[in-house]
């Protein structure tokens, strides 16, 4: 029985709720997805909007801000796709079915799904950046008729680093939907595109007035992608990016995630481009 007495404490935002691991799926050799039962046994599941993140706690080791990668329409199965790069994520990579991890959240501002209704959607993801975008893709799929063309551009380091290959294949078969994948370096069996994700824009035609773009990946990739989108006629107001900074609290109190005046944890992580454009071009903000 998992006790989650967070409610009985004076709602301190820093106390995690504990949730049980249902399954661990290795996506690549250093990235894995945790499928998690919702922390509260009230039947309502874990409710969130696409683009939000949780502070995920490995017992005794620490927390990491990880975006939620599951389907918002399926609140009973929470998923986090995690890149194993440090102490906390390494500890998380060792959990097994039945183990407990801590969850605090959901936090942050979501992708502009409602804003995109009736419009074309261009999703550009680089590397692990596809993970925070997967929930919004799920929503686009579930509500396919509400949206126009859907274009998904995805770049990864190599064919072995591609995430969600099966789902990408399924999504490419949907009506009026295009999925183009590229890698920075191929291998002997790879017959797909080789080159940076920004080069994929050459292969699509976008109706620049009717498109909302959602971009996520390393900051340098987002900068170049955003330039490319504007070169193809999108205004900054049509472009959304998801930013990342060091986070210790997730609730705007520790100061670490500041990007200029913005707290990535509560003013973001999703930003409309005009909100952060002037800061992106400066060094070391």
């Amino acid at each position: 029985m998992i006790e989650n007495p967070a409610a009985s404490f004076e709602a301190s935002a820093m106390i995690p709720s504990f949730a049980e691991i249902r399954r661990v799926v290795w996506e690549t050799d250093d990235t894995f997805t945790l499928l998690i039962a919702p922390p509260h046994n009230d039947g309502k599941g874990f409710s969130f909007t696409p683009g939000q993140f949780n502070m995920v706690y490995a017992f005794g080791i620490g927390e990491s801000a990880i975006s939620i990668s599951s389907d918002p329409a399926k609140p009973n199965m929470l998923a986090h796709t995690i890149h194993r790069v440090g102490t906390v994520t390494s500890a998380l990579s060792k959990v097994r079915r039945g183990d407990l991890i801590g969850i605090r959240g959901p936090y942050g501002r979501a992708w502009p799904l409602e804003e995109a209704v009736g419009k074309d959607v261009c999703i550009a993801a680089g590397g692990i950046g596809l993970a925070p975008l997967r929930p919004v893709i799920y929503s686009l799929v579930t509500r396919r008729e509400e949206f126009g063309r859907v274009i998904i551009l995805y770049g990864a380091r190599s064919p072995l680093d591609l995430l969600y290959r099966v789902e990408l294949e399924e999504w490419s078969k949907l009506p009026n939907t295009e999925v183009i994948i590229t890698v920075d370096r191929g291998d002997s069996t790879w017959k797909g595109h080789i080159g940076v994700v920004t080069s994929l824009f050459s292969y699509i035609k976008m109706d620049s007035r009717e498109t909302i773009a959602m971009v996520c990946g390393p900051e340098v990739m987002m900068k170049f992608t955003v330039e490319e989108l504007q070169r193809r006629g999108l205004t900054p107001e049509q472009i959304y990016i998801s930013m990342e900074r060091n986070m210790k609290c997730g609730v705007g109190l520790c100061g670490h995630c500041q990007f200029g005046p913005k707290f990535i944890c509560k003013d973001g992580p999703v930003f409309r481009l005009p909100e952060v454009n002037h800061l992106l071009e400066k060094k070391e903000i």
């Binding site: 029985m1 998992i2 006790e3 007495p5 404490f9 004076e10 709602a11 301190s12 935002a13 820093m14 106390i15 504990f18 706690y57 017992f59 005794g60 080791i61 620490g62 927390e63 890149h83 790069v85 440090g86 994520t89 039945g98 407990l100 390393p218 990342e244 900074r245 060091n246 210790k248 609290c249 609730v251 705007g252 109190l253 520790c254 100061g255 670490h256 500041q258 200029g260 005046p261 707290f263 509560k266 400066k282 060094k283 070391e284 903000i285």
Partner: protein
Amino acid sequence: MNRTLKLSAQNLPQLFTALKSKGYTLIAPVVQDGTIAYDKAESSDDLPVGWTDEQSPATYRLSKENRGRYFGFHTAPQSWKRFLYPPERSLFRLKRNGKSVEFQKDPNEQTNYAFIGVRPCELSAILVQDLVFDSEKYGDDDYKLRRKDLFIVAVNCTDSAEDCFCSSLKTGPKAKGNYDLALTEIVAKGEHYFVVETGSETGEAIISQTHSSEATEQEINEAAKLVRHAENKMKKSVDISDLPKLLSNNLEHPHWDNVAKRCLSCGNCTMVCPTCFCSTVEDITDLSGDEAERVQRWDSCFTMDFSKVAGGNFRITPKSRYRQWLTHKFSSWVDQFGVFGCVGCGRCITWCPVGIDITAEIGSLRGEPNS
């Protein structure tokens, strides 16, 4: 109805007694480690009578003053922040028992402080931190508890230190409200007394337990005169007109390189600043791995680790970190909380080992000569 009273210096102990009898834990200035610091006090005997501090860039020294004032000094190295928002505290403890996890949270150590001797700039700093920690959406519950029952005895400034610039930020030298009591200390014509202004019912209740009387107009004027003296004496200033915009438009001004040559990134400024609120958390476990604790600590944006992420570090150079601190205080803070993050107390100038003067740096960024 707020009243203005007179309390003679010899009756000051009664104020302390009244507060103690109501169960408050008293925090007041005391001489400690070669400084005048804010710490637990029992009676007015603990106050630094006859001591003053000399502060200037990179310099702090205690010296004796000959007027026997209780509050003859300027500002303590650290502010009252460390009582409302402790430098280190345990957030919770966990015990894992197979499938279940037990929580333990230490009860709050203290929720009934009385701060005696809060400078107007420091009072403003508390109000600034209230906007950070006491907000509806994302507040800190421990802070709220400590803040709720806090009794504030403000002390208006009758002298200013070399590093003071509160008048530029309009936070002093006189407290304008948000206190329970405000004292102005007067030593004149052989008399030693306080002009006391009440600011709340609680303040009224406490002062009514002392032998105080209505202040005369002459006494009130004397107090005002001394406060004006403190204001006029201030040499440092910051032109805050349109400052947030000026800073955000000058993120690549060549002057940042100039400061970077001097700044050691030691973080002293953030440690003494009464409004800095950055923190970090540390998760600790015992050898068995079944007991864990999370501890929150003050942090500083000057540390190398502050901006680290999985892929690298966003602020590697000392220049970027100094710029972050200054632009946060005078620009981003306004976007975030609607007020400046700086209250003009000047501590950062005093305690900077190389004496970097934030008012001069802003002057240089404005392109002022002689900065």
